[in-house]
Amino acid sequence: MRLSGRQIDCIRGGRGVFSGLDFEASSGEVLAVVGPNGSGKTSLLRLIAGLLVPAGGSVVLEGGEAELTLPEQSHYLGHRDALKPALSVHENLSFWRDFLGGKVGDVSQCLTAVGLGHATHLPAAYLSAGQRRRLSIARLLVVRRPVWLLDEPTSALDTAGQDLFVGIMRDHLAGGGIIIAATHAPLGIGARELRMGGGK
């Protein structure tokens, strides 16, 4: 499986964020998108996720499931964690499992895997920022999708959480997954760098 972008232009609010961007990542590979604030890291991820329309160029996934689009084979983990405080931890995760569909796993197991096994029936409102992030990460586990688009995934996580997350990413890569992560801090895992901005 290979994810590649050719000559991508991105314009937001009339301002050119980046142009002529090329990248590629194959199965088992991490592409770390680095660069200063405003260089378009988040825009690139949202563009791959199909949430932004590129002004030029294209992104292609080769070797995926033919009848599905790229966004339907991607997980997007953004700054906002897509959790409803009124629902319990379990309800939040099982909603996303049912809604996103495809190959799904067991909700309780995934919650235990991210260290939330004790809190399954508590309202998500009671979780701390780090725990909310863990719950978002559980979403990556409960629904199997080959491409992970992660925006600052380790922010708000404590050291134990970061170690846990590195393990989760390793498993995903070993299963032939692709990870594209926008990050300031080192991910703790071997990655190819895509440097954004500055080089115009």
């Binding site: 405080p85 009124a86 809190a119 309202p123 009671y126 701390s128 780090g130 725990q131």
Partner: protein, 243 residues
């Protein structure tokens, strides 16, 4: 047991556990006696048997206002002394007050059907009670809208006090509005002089319903304290085993 002791939620719970059965028993007895006397009361020469509706209508209408008074006192406790038990008292009273107000409205309307020929007349009293009912519902909506109980308590306290000041103004305006449109006064409930045969069952019922309120209020306050305990324990559970 001093007042300070009462203010401690745990002490309050133990007191409630001891008092509630007696209160419930007294309430049941008074309401049964009141019901018997109401059934035995003679018909009114003007209103016929519908006068019996008064025996449940008047206590409910009086409680509708009394409960708002209780909540206003609790609101003062919340705002001035910032006491959590006052929050609990205010929150527990709202649904009970709303239920009594609803009953006052419905019994009033059932009394009005044979008297006026319609279920609803925009009579000054009924209309004021209807507005009171809306305010109760608004207050309950406010309690439900905010997840953090102490924040909700302060907002609800402000609304309760503003309501307490506003209620007489609303009553006055509605009276004025009503006389403006309807110079002919409709037949009013009760009347200035009340025969003893009606007064005694009415009083017994009034005391009975008041006791019912006290009983329900204490029980609801106990539930609310337990609910808060559950909430804080859940929050502790969320953080305790985070590692």
């Amino acid at each position: 047991m001093t007042l300070i002791d009462l203010a401690n939620p745990t002490k309050f719970l133990s007191l409630t556990a001891r008092v509630l059965p007696w209160l419930a028993g007294a309430t049941a007895i008074l309401l049964l006696v009141g019901f018997y006397q109401a059934a035995m009361a003679p018909d009114d020469y003007q209103q016929g048997a519908t006068v019996k509706i008064m025996f449940v209508h008047v206590p409910n209408a009086w409680l509708a206002m009394f409960v708002w008074g209780v909540m206003s006192l609790a609101a003062l406790g919340t705002l001035v002394w910032r006491h959590p038990l006052a929050d609990v008292a205010a929150k527990a009273a709202a649904p009970i007050g709303a239920a009594f107000t609803f009953l006052a409205l419905v019994t009033g309307s059932l009394w009005g059907r044979p008297m006026w020929g319609t279920y609803w007349e925009w009579d000054a009293r009924l209309t004021s009670v209807l507005i009171l009912f809306l305010m109760y519902l608004g207050l309950m909506a406010l309690w439900r809208a905010v997840d953090d109980p102490s924040r909700a308590a302060r907002a609800a306290a402000v609304l309760t006090l503003v309501g307490a000041i506003n209620l007489p103004i609303i009553k006055f305006s509605v009276d004025w509005w009503n006389t403006l449109h309807q110079p002919a006064a409709v037949l009013r409930m009760g009347g200035p002089s009340l025969d003893k045969a009606f007064l005694i069952p009415l009083l017994v019922m009034a005391v009975g319903f008041s006791l019912l309120f006290v009983t329900l209020h204490l029980a609801a306050m106990r539930n609310e304290i337990l609910r808060r305990r559950v909430r804080s324990l859940q929050m502790m559970q969320a953080s305790q085993q985070a590692a």
